[in-house]
Symmetry: C2
Subunit: 168 residues, 2 copies
């Protein structure tokens, strides 16, 4: 290790640090998810469905922070592999509620344990009070960013597609 420390001292920017933390978490998750043949989005989708069965494609997309087009591609693969089922036709409207199959649930079980371990490691050195404080502060940042972003709709709906789908 003869490297001369290529570290960057953007240590003054909270935004930079936020990205750094998020990247570190993503990498750690990818590392434990890769052996299971899963991506982070993949896992997120399954986890979302486990907690909220019947979520639609668009809802899943918002929850996993991707576009609904991307989530659609993923859902099709998940359906093909038998991890998720969707009705062939919508009962009402166009919404196709997705549900985990037993196989999908099983697949999620390992992944969920792995991811929980990562999150535990991340929070290892923090007290409960610190975790609560971190939670509060992050929520504040999110709110501040969103409140003035799309024109101040005030909702906390995490809409990813910010500009596509124009009516034309």
């Amino acid at each position: 290790m003869s490297q001369k420390r290529s570290g960057i001292e953007l240590d003054t920017s909270l935004g930079y640090l936020l990205k750094e933390a998020s990247t570190a978490l993503r990498l750690a998750m990818e590392e434990v998810l890769r052996p299971l043949g899963m991506t982070v989005t993949h896992y997120s989708c399954l986890e979302l469905l486990a907690q909220r069965p019947g979520m639609s494609n668009s809802e899943l997309a918002r929850g996993a922070f991707v576009t609904r087009q991307s989530m659609n591609v993923l859902l099709q693969a998940l359906e093909r592999d038998g991890h998720v089922t969707r009705p062939a036709e919508a009962a009402v409207g166009k919404v196709l509620p997705a549900r985990l199959t037993p196989r999908g649930r099983e697949s999620l079980r390992e992944a969920s344990a792995a991811v929980r371990a990562v999150e535990s490691r991340m929070l290892g050195g923090m007290s409960d009070g610190e975790q609560a404080e971190a939670f509060r502060l992050l929520q504040g940042m999110i709110r501040s960013l969103r409140d003035d972003s799309d024109g101040g709709h005030g909702s906390d709906g995490s809409d990813q597609s910010h500009g596509s789908d124009r009516k034309g």
Copy 2:
């Protein structure tokens, strides 16, 4: 707004919230950077070079949280557009130190102002003490994630390529 509130209540996971915050920040940055014809990585590269002239491709990659392959592509475009210069040959080793051109510096100036505005908005509702606390907590998370990740090298060098390039 007849939507039934598709919000997800993963409100118990700090990891999820971290990703949410990071996504919100990225979207906000893209929003202000798009009119300037810049991506976030694009901006990061310029900002890094402004603060540390002469950084190498690999160093920039680590600093912007992408692989050195991706950064190389970006640097080539930046060179082509006259925002960055690199010597044709390495003075020592293979490292090609990159530097901003006046044009690159000018381009960065607008972007930097825009990004700073976003970051200010994000921190709008936080006191100095809260910002310092957020900083400390995020650093703790990063350290915890990295300390046990690649085998515990203990350094805070942000290495992105975690497994490629094996000697084989």
